[in-house]
Symmetry: C2
Subunit: 146 residues, 2 copies
């Protein structure tokens, strides 16, 4: 497999509610799709929302939303270009009444980071990492000397 | 927030075991890191492995690995450039004794898709989608007429 990620799909309880969160609170523009799914184009990585039951069926596994723990074994992250951008994002999240799980703070690895949860409890870290560069096109450059 | 994804972190039970899986079975090259974490550069999106307990601590939530259901509310996907590439990937996974959850098959949306699980049960879909183009650099182009 080439070193790339094509898509991440989050299981959701109420597709309209979660799509509205990413559209109105986060500010991303959904692609035109049938009403059963939502896609957002994150610079060539597809961010997708799909109902829990349909997703579990597609995988051939069984689950119910009641089995979901608060911590689901993964987190997504958005790297901001500055501490000020992190603060501005959390100010916006607060304005919209989003679920802020950890206010941004200086963290042990030298960055500045906080967490929010989307309407289904999926966790997003919003961080400023002085060791990594966010390129003009939004992609991460891990090697400072490249 | 700009439309981009910087990183996805998977919680793992045994970091060495899971890092070896992505390195030896999947074929990706890890970045140099301290032993507490692993990073893989997926074309400017960072794919990270981090122990469950450290990750939950970082988020300020409590969990145990025993609370993890088989279905964890999300899936990652790798879009292959052809059906043949999908088959070649599953042949390799089988050779390495990886956990194949769904053999690739033609699916209702017009593609060809299967699933495997990594050592911690995180699900990956490997699919050929004739409606989306995989660009030379690996990023997805959803709009066929761009």
């Amino acid at each position: 497999m080439e070193p790339r990620l094509s898509m991440i799909t989050l299981g959701v309880d109420d597709l309209e509610r979660t799509k509205a969160f990413y559209q109105n609170v986060i500010g991303w523009v959904p692609e035109p799709t049938p009403p059963e799914i939502a896609f957002f184009d994150l610079g060539g990585v597809v961010f997708s929302l799909y109902p829990h039951h349909a997703m579990a069926d597609d995988m051939g596994v069984h689950t119910s939303k009641n089995e979901m723990p608060a911590y689901q074994g993964f987190a997504l992250a958005y790297n901001a270009r500055s501490k000020e951008e992190v603060d501005a994002i959390f100010a916006r999240l607060k304005e919209h009444g989003a679920s802020i799980r950890k206010q941004p703070e200086d963290v042990f690895w030298g960055g500045y980071s906080g967490y929010f949860a989307d309407p289904d409890g999926h966790m997003w870290e919003v961080a400023y990492n002085p060791h990594w560069r966010v390129r003009e096109d939004g992609r991460i450059l891990m090697k400072a000397n490249d």
